[in-house]
């Protein structure tokens, strides 16, 4: 154990004295997290996704048709939840699926939806409640577009029937004429004109704009009344997940990646300079030697994690569970130690390992969903993402930071990270032994 600690401490000391590596290991991820956190804070967020859960609280012909249209859409994978156990329970179940990253968003079809589909001029726009995963913003925009499209198709279906349209227009006129509020009558005058003369419809409707809600967590993202759909979007766990809670896990993962790569490179440097040879002559087994390197990698990754989490707390990030955060950090470290071992044996020169290392890390980041939403990838690429520790790390860290994961929910990502770490280490040691015997 003394030898393992000596090797590890030596590597920590060497990294500390290598300014460039120390910068990329400690400061770059901090810059990454702060920069993107600031940008996201400035511009706000709005999101959606491809794997969605739909709760139909309306249970009308119109809402069923809309749900079916979503389910038949190629762009969406729809899970429908019954509201048999009560509206609030169904809503909560749907939100929980989003919190656990099982679904990107929940879409609740509230009561009255079918009525609004059937009578758009009288009842106002169709309303949908969307609960979004705040870490998957790009997918959110896509989801809203898809919902809008389906809603328009529904609206188009109603408008295409001339008799229905005529009846709706008459019903609308009746409703306006019964209005006693003068102010409202004045505002509805254009609609009255439209219903009397369809030619003026578009112009009249454009003047009818909705007021925006003051609550930043509840935003009306489309026009009111004459637009077919009104989205009310909220971010799940919005109280805990400020922008920094979303960007810091990604910064932490970049830090762990940098630390792994620095250690992988150090093994190649030791091979080139002959210091590895000197250690191999010492009465140590190869596994002891490599465990020392792995421990160094783990210590440095852990330091990065601790520094970044400490920084995150300064920006208002508070973990849901400190023990689970420690678990997530530990498993992240184990996962990246495995990656380090694999990278260290994939080339004989620093240039080779550096090139292969960053390419691999970027690939892992991409398939792990750290660079682009996984929903935009083909299925086989999404499956490949299972081997990326990056996606699992972010899931585990977010789970402990703001997704309110239980211990049972942490088992999936943490188990995957440990498995990646163990497999990576074992394969790395085997390849190291094999290549040492051939040299």
């Amino acid at each position: 154990m003394r030898a393992v600690l000596a090797i590890a401490w030596k590597d920590v000391r060497l990294l500390r004295r290598d300014n460039a590596s120390a910068f990329f290991t400690f400061f770059f991820p901090m810059v990454y997290a702060l920069l993107f956190g600031t940008v996201m804070n400035s511009f706000g967020s709005g999101m959606g996704a491809m794997d969605i859960v739909v709760v139909d609280l309306d249970n009308t012909e119109g809402s069923a048709a809309f749900t079916e249209a979503l389910a038949n859409s190629n762009e969406l994978d729809v899970l429908t939840l019954d509201a048999d156990s009560g509206e609030e329970d169904a809503r909560a179940d749907a939100r929980d699926l989003v919190r656990r990253r099982k679904r990107v968003a929940s879409v609740v079809i509230p009561a009255g939806f079918g009525e609004r589909v059937a009578r758009p001029f009288v009842s106002g726009p169709m309303e949908l409640e969307i609960a979004l995963d705040p870490s998957r913003q790009a997918e959110g925009a896509m989801l809203q577009g898809l919902l809008m499209r389906r809603a328009f198709e529904q609206f188009q279906g109603v408008m295409r029937d001339s008799e229905t349209l005529s009846a709706m227009a008459q019903e609308g006129l009746d409703s306006i004429r019964k209005e006693t509020d003068e102010e409202k009558r004045r505002r509805l005058a254009p609609l009255e004109a439209f219903l009397g003369s369809l030619d003026t419809l578009i112009t009249a409707m454009q003047e009818m704009r909705a007021e925006q809600s003051d609550d930043p967590r509840v935003r009306i993202t489309s026009g009111e009344w004459m637009e077919p759909v009104k989205f009310t979007t909220t971010e799940i766990t919005a109280e805990k997940a400020n922008a920094y809670a979303i960007t810091f896990p990604q910064g932490i993962v970049w830090g762990a990646m940098s630390a792994s790569l620095a250690m992988a490179l150090s093994l190649v440097v030791e091979r080139r300079t002959g210091t590895l040879l000197r250690m191999q002559v010492a009465p140590l087994s190869r596994s002891t030697l490599l465990m020392g390197k792995a421990l160094a990698s783990g210590i440095i990754s852990l330091l990065v994690l601790v520094v970044l989490i400490a920084m995150a707390t300064l920006f208002g990030v508070r973990p849901s569970s400190a023990p689970l955060l420690i678990l997530a950090c530990g498993c992240t470290v184990v996962g990246f130690v495995g990656v380090m071992m694999l990278l260290s044996v994939c080339g004989k020169t620093e240039a080779a390992v550096n090139g292969i290392g960053w390419s691999t890390m970027l690939m892992l980041a991409m398939v792990g969903g750290a660079m682009m939403p996984r929903a935009f990838m083909p299925g086989w690429l999404q499956s490949l993402g299972m081997i990326s520790p990056i996606g699992w790390s972010i899931t585990a860290l977010e789970g402990a930071l703001w997704r309110d994961y239980s211990l049972a929910e942490m088992i999936g990502p943490c188990g995957a990270l440990v498995a990646i770490g163990v497999v990576g280490f074992v394969v790395g040691v085997r390849v190291f032994d094999w290549s040492a015997a051939r040299e």
């Binding site: 090797i7 004295r17 002959g274 000197r278 009465p283 087994s285 015997a437």
Partner: protein
């Protein structure tokens, strides 16, 4: 102390070492000489367990093959490359290696201090290795091989690329190690160095031992005769002879020389005699 018996190592189609048998005695400086690619470094690598021979046996100090950590413990290696951590100080470099051999922190510090004193680097103990000159790094490299006080030292080209002063210092150090009972295996392609310090020498080429014995015996058996160079107004004349004194006397009496020089055979000429080519061809 070290016994290699019928050891062979191949890399693909290339035979680096072929059926090599060497027995190195306790307390001697044994020179392994030969040109680049002769198989010296491969032999050293097999002796310390970095390479596994394809066939044959290696035994270290009667403790078994070098794959056994206990057997490896009695060997110290100074590789040809300066195997040091540039960003660590001399004390830290030696302290790290001492830790790998199981020494406590206090022991490691004491041992590092002793060795730095021995190799004349005490004053630079706290300086990082990257600030050392080539000669100083060579001495530190040598000290690193001795950190666990091994009985056998394998020194692979220990004077490569150093200035004459440092070379002299290193050779004196190696002699001092022998005087303290250490066994030193020394590879080099500097024949004059080997001639100066080695008790016995094995001359290798193409993975085989061409000759083995004391320097004097090799010179006697394979070095050829002494050469007397006589210069006069007509040019230089070379005479090979077993009795240079008689030859000089004869030249002086005949008045055939204004300048005389006697050239003794050396290991270079031994190598030439054995292979028909010069060492650095």
């Amino acid at each position: 102390m070290i016994a290699l018996t019928e050891v062979t190592k191949r890399f693909g189609a290339v035979t680096a070492v072929e059926a090599l048998t060497l027995k190195i005695k306790r307390g001697e400086i044994f020179g392994l000489l030969g040109p680049n690619g002769a198989g010296k470094s491969t032999t050293i690598a097999m002796a310390v367990g970095l390479l596994k021979p394809d066939s044959g046996r290696v035994d270290l100090a009667g403790k078994g093959p070098p794959t056994d950590p206990e057997a490896r413990r009695c060997v110290g290696l100074a590789p040809q490359a300066l195997a040091l951590y540039d960003e660590l100080t001399a004390t830290e470099n030696l302290g790290l290696l001492a830790s790998l051999y199981g020494m406590s922190r206090a022991e490691a510090v004491r041992r590092a201090s002793e060795l730095l004193n021995l190799v004349g680097l005490s004053e630079r103990a706290s300086a990082r290795a990257k600030t050392y000159s080539g000669g100083m790094k060579r001495r530190l490299n040598l000290a690193a091989a001795m950190v666990h006080d091994p009985d056998v030292l394998l020194l692979d080209e220990p004077t490569a690329g150093v200035d004459p002063q440092s070379r002299h210092s290193i050779l004196e150090l190696i002699r001092g190690l022998r005087d303290r009972g250490k066994t030193v295996v020394y590879t080099t392609h500097y024949m004059e160095e080997a001639q100066r310090v080695c008790d016995r020498v094995a001359i290798m080429d193409h993975g085989r031992v061409l000759a083995l014995g004391t320097v004097d015996a090799l010179l006697r058996e394979h070095g050829g005769k002494m050469t007397v160079h006589a210069t006069n107004g007509a040019g230089e004349r070379r005479v090979e002879t077993d009795d240079p004194i008689a030859e000089i006397r004869s030249l002086l009496e005949s008045g055939g020389a204004t300048e005389l020089r006697v050239e003794r055979p050396n290991l270079e000429s031994v190598f030439l005699g054995l292979t028909g080519r010069r060492l650095r061809d």
